[in-house]
Symmetry: D2
Subunit: 464 residues, 4 copies
């Protein structure tokens, strides 16, 4: 890799905001430059991104130089790439609305709906086939590229790349654990009297699957944070009425509950964590969700949010607004620089298990720490999950393993088996489960071209 001629392929990005963040970080890095190929099935969106990229370049605020060009053929976009970044929306918000809200009619609530649970499964049915295609093209056009995935369901997208093209140098990048590090930094300040604790000072062992990650150790300036965190929870969450929103400026009840019961630190946003256990625990009803202090993200909100972002993009493209060039706070730029030979770093990352942990199959993608160095990524053998946590996490890993197998084989009956075994579906009777699953499949039907028509319903089922 020539540092001033790096080739980056960016797949997706119609969501606009994220593409802009990336382009700012690229401009500001000061070490590498080159060419960014923008590929999106929504070509106008890609074109907008090109315009904005050029505005950033011409703003004079960057420290590196990049050319941006829209490439409408995926093969051409990938040809000889050094890095491939994937960040797509599989389907539209219409399908996502079905993923998230169709289950509501059965008393099933999802706070995100893009990773596990009924929504996660249907989303995977749309996404895995798309990633099969990406993997084949990457194999053909840039087998040595580092492929960085940002799309959810993170684990399954990344696992698909490996399943189709085992030599792929892919990893999934997710900032979800950073929030828990920030939270622990505040805990350390309050309980230990430390000042100005930064996220990077919270040293952790990370293990789990994406969005259901756990810190198996956490230290700050040499102090073990486990007993500190326990005291903090006793002071706040357990003092008086847990549901009194006043006791803490920021509620993190789900992760605190999981820590107190399981003894290791659940490390993702509460909206994500709640989706990995039986729905009766935190998602039994909108009232219970409120009691636990987190929110159900409505897809209509996402639509409005997207409309805002598109409006903002239009304003930038039309020159009505100035592009600001600020660092995003995301970690991917540091990782890319480490892979280009600058400053090694350790970061959490989603990688093929391949023997790292025994509670997942070799084909599972798990999240853990890795060292990023010039041209390579080496996972660390983190402190193990304790057995009670392993019970929860291994169940998730097995679900994902079976789901990937079922989707790859286009075996609707097997996918339904996995659906019924999801923790978030634990309330469903078989009759309800079948009706819900078939309705959700119907709603996303146009993205299921590769599935034989006759198996678009569950056939081996129950005589209902």
């Amino acid at each position: 890799m020539e540092l001033d001629n790096i080739k980056i392929t960016y797949i997706g990005g119609g969501s606009r905001a994220w593409a802009r963040k990336m382009m700012c970080d690229l401009a500001l890095n000061g070490v590498i430059g080159g060419e960014v190929r923008l590929y999106d099935i929504d070509v106008p969106a890609a074109q907008d991104n090109q315009v904005i990229g050029e505005l950033i370049e011409s703003s004079g605020k960057g420290r590196s130089h990049w050319k941006y060009k829209v490439v409408s053929d995926l093969g051409a976009a990938l040809d000889g790439a050094d890095f491939v970044l994937c960040s797509i929306l599989p389907g539209t918000f219409d399908e996502m609305a079905s993923d998230v809200h169709e289950p509501n009619g059965y008393g099933l609530y999802q706070s995100v709906g893009d990773t596990v649970g009924p929504g996660g499964i249907l989303r995977a049915m749309r996404t895995v086939p798309i990633y099969e295609g990406f993997a084949a093209q990457i194999k053909a056009h840039c087998p040595n590229a580092f492929v960085i995935n940002f799309t959810n369901p993170m684990s399954l997208c990344t696992a698909t790349l490996y399943d189709v093209f085992p030599q792929v140098k892919a990893f999934g990048c997710c900032h979800e654990v950073f929030g828990t590090q920030e939270f622990l930094a505040r805990v350390a300040e309050e309980m230990l009297g430390f000042t100005n604790v930064e996220r990077h000072e919270i040293k952790v062992d990370v293990l789990g699957v994406n969005h259901f990650t756990w810190f198996t150790s956490a230290e700050c300036r040499g102090v073990d944070l486990f007993p500190v965190y326990r005291e903090y929870i006793r002071k706040h969450m357990w003092k008086g009425n847990r549901t009194d929103g006043d006791v803490m400026s920021s509620k993190e009840y789900v992760k605190m509950d999981l820590f107190m019961r399981y003894g290791q630190i659940a490390a993702a946003g509460d909206r994500h964590l709640a989706e990995f256990v039986n729905n009766a625990w935190y998602l039994d009803s909108p009232e219970l969700v409120e009691e636990w202090g987190f929110v159900l993200t409505d897809v209509d909100w996402r639509r409005r949010d997207r409309a805002e972002k598109v409006k903002k993009t239009r304003a930038l493209v039309n020159g009505e607004e100035q592009v600001e060039v600020n660092p995003s706070g995301e970690e991917f730029m540091s990782l890319i620089l480490a892979l280009c030979g600058k400053k090694d770093c350790v970061s959490n990352v989603n990688l093929l298990n391949s023997g790292l942990v025994a509670w997942a199959s070799d084909a599972n993608v798990i999240e853990t720490n890795a060292v990023f160095e010039y041209g390579k990524i080496t996972p660390l053998k983190c402190r193990p999950l304790n057995k009670d946590v392993e019970l929860l996490v291994s169940r998730v890993a097995r679900q994902q393993d079976n789901l990937l197998r079922g989707i790859r084989a286009r075996d609707m009956n097997s996918v339904f088996d996995t659906f019924m075994a999801e923790p978030l579906c634990s309330k469903l009777t078989l009759k309800e489960g079948k009706a819900l699953f078939e309705k959700m499949v119907k709603n996303t039907e146009k993205y299921l071209d590769g599935w034989p028509v006759e198996i678009r319903k569950v056939t081996n089922c129950m005589g209902y």
Copy 2:
């Protein structure tokens, strides 16, 4: 072992009927004879069994000779034994009533309640410590004896023996799969026109955990029964109203449903099978249970049944009734004879996993086929579970593994974690779960001597 001087220790047997069956089989075997030591904490019950044993001996209907004696010290009872048979009731029907019925108040129904689910967990908390004691005494007094367990929870009792005394020659003996073989024999007769199919002609690969066992292959007279069974189900269960009791003399809806959905044959009674999956599937309400054609066994029924058996025993002991000496139909006698050097046989049995399957830990006890030969038992490497079945069964195995660890460590919080992860508890909110668990622990408290007082409640929990 001298065939005419075999020493058998029988632990338990106060349940009377089972002891009588065993003594009949011993009398009729015609190959081995010797001495039976009867040990029960209910000494009068043991004494009754001795009287009945002697009546059988003096009836002249036997073909082997046995001396029966009550031994009130366990060590003395075990000393130098060749075989140890364990069949105990841990606690009384009062505790069992709590196991089975206390959860009813939370909408949780159990059809048996002695293996898994809330009832199975509490029963295990009483039973595992008793088996720890048995294992220590066996190690001290008869380390070379074959130990045959009949007590539930089967897997955990047997696993406890191995955990305490790794060299123990223990196995668990359960006739549950025979019923499914009988059922398949009828299926073969009806669908294939075979006549007089006997149970032993249904050749099967068996894999799973006790009461949640699966046939991964089934053949009869060279014909693969899988497609035959599928046709049978289409003909009966799926024709017209599934719940019409008239279509079949014997309903087996749960196992048929599991076969149609999972593609391998669930092989235990429906009452047991239903307890290994989310309660919403088959046990959501008494009405749903009825719809699926099986029953919830009430502990009051057990009390009445026991009273009948005690009455029968009294009548035999008092000479008001004649002892009948008939073969029991159980398999344990054939297994003992094979271990004594007569006619090798293959039978399903509960054994330490120890590398046989990857979906369970080495410490799990699993059920599979084994060859019984002179002085040894060798498990077979059966056809594997398919992946969708493995998803269900591995979850059960992991629950049992974690439960055993938690009980052995007297770690109430860990046991509660396992409790909340039980499929039969999948409906429970955390608040409900904590309340139910603490009540059930309270109900069985007098059998929890070894647990530190301060941990008789769940301490690390939820701020409730």
Copy 3:
């Protein structure tokens, strides 16, 4: 399978004697009949076998009826077969003479030379590619057939079938352990005073790789033979001069030495056993071989033996001699009958490891016991090797695993690495090793068509 219309394909058999044995057993079995397709690249040899088969059929001494026909196209020969028997000589005695005797010039002696050691490796280089072809044809023409291999190197031939066609129902059949059972029967008679002990009464657990198999338990009529065998050895082998041929009518010094040192029973002929350990142990010189009481089988002897057999065949074909129809004493007929639904049996067999033992890879073929039943073969989980034995056997398994990989990849450098790591090559300096290997490759060159010309020598080597 229809019992009177079984289709058997017999590949090879030019060695004559073995084919005749098989045809006698087929004629005498009394249960199955049908058609035997004779395929051999030596067509006249196959034709002779057909004539002899027909003579057996017309002799009236058989109890089953078979048609014999030569089929010169392998695909046609395999089409729809129920059983495939493979027994070939890879190459000619010229190549075998090189395998066995070329190493003599370097002080390396081989007592057989067809399984491991320099001879075994070169033979594998000829044989594995042939078996790749068989596997492809079996997959195309009779994927459900049981494939019984008799060719050496047994493990690698069978492993090749699985590697190319993972669903193949193949197993390797070898009578080598029977000899040790016979020997132990004599030991039991002498030391225990038993009379008329038959081979089948020696109950054993078998584990290892073909020709380096071990009994991890051995019992006779309920008596553990391990201490008995130890006494026997002290009495005979260790009394006075071990090398005095008079003390025992049958010398078995190698296996007795291995038992005394390793504590489990090496169970193959001494000529085979000696080849699996460093050549200095038993094969250091012809004198040492004599001291250990076994022989180096000369390939010239094989040539003469073959000539005798051909002469005998000619005499039978020409009607100068009468065909005798006697049972062969081999076990394959019992196994075939068990697979056809008659009398289940347990026998040692060579099968894919696939998780049975941890000391071999999943792709290794190991030898162990299996139950043969109607349409299926189920391996038993035998008592494990003790650790000192495992050290020896695992080394062999790893050699075979690496050799198969190297040959399948046509990677001459890797095969040379394996060659240098063979126990029988442990004396060789690198310079000698390279010279010997290259000469042996040259000698067998015409069977190495598939290997790129440029890699017919070791290129990455030592600067010599």
Copy 4:
């Protein structure tokens, strides 16, 4: 840990030179200070070290302050220690002379003789029992200390600590791979034209067992060194006469040969590497050793070298010479500082396998990279060994595993089995092997107190 009150226990150090290096590094580190307890069974040697330590302290050249004190009771020396450093000579040079030279009479030559081979085995028989004692005392007196082992046999000493006290925070520290990094730095300069390449710029994945470690990747300034190294070897080692010492200032023939044949980089001194393969390869005779360009280290040389060091020590203690305070170039100081919270670092280290690699048992100690951070060491999952290398290395791991088991059980027969299976013993006949082993055991007898007298010879052996 308080940085200015660190407690270090130094076990051993009578070898003088090494203790001085350590004390210099401690003095110069500038971050931590505290107390060093000197424990040695040779108390005067420890006292000398104390004097020298005080001289360093009073020299004013240090940047940290340390108190040195001799503690003659091991428990007292360990009490509350933060770090324990072990560097002992098990036995005297008399036993080492037997280890190294007794085998010469059988044509076996050893270039070091302290790790594997006949010498390594006998040394392990003396050392493992000593380390059992260390482990017990560490468990009792400083269970949370980091224990750094420097004694050979490195793997077995470290493995013993874990086997006796599984929670021990032990690792083995060896600078052997640094030499190969230095060598590759020179290769990079010559072949790539780089200037001033430092050892740390050679980025490697390390995997193997101590002294038989391999680089599974090696890069310098972003360039893959594998093809570069290949070219270098072709240029030097293979050009003209390999044995012409003039072509290279530094000969590294053994490692270059291993690279060319095996495709990954053997990374230890040639004297060590040569001992892990059959003795015929590089150690067949003193002439062959010379041809391969390395040397046989004579124990007499070690005696003279020791005498020099003792003389030097006396001179320093007596004030005849000035103590120089220079950095040692060893890495242990960086590791200690990282563990104390200063600058994280990645280094090769010897750690319990515990699932990292499949070619070794969980109980094996392997050498690989790890991240050193505040209070913890996390191994990296390095690029795997290729299969041909794994064949060599796994054999070594299995030998060590079996040897440790045998010594821990004081099972002389099992140790002899391992002895005979050592690559360096591959030439030995059984008669020779037995005679040599028994002689070597005799020579080291006084260190075998724990072994039952009757098993001081090989009893189950061969009738010789």
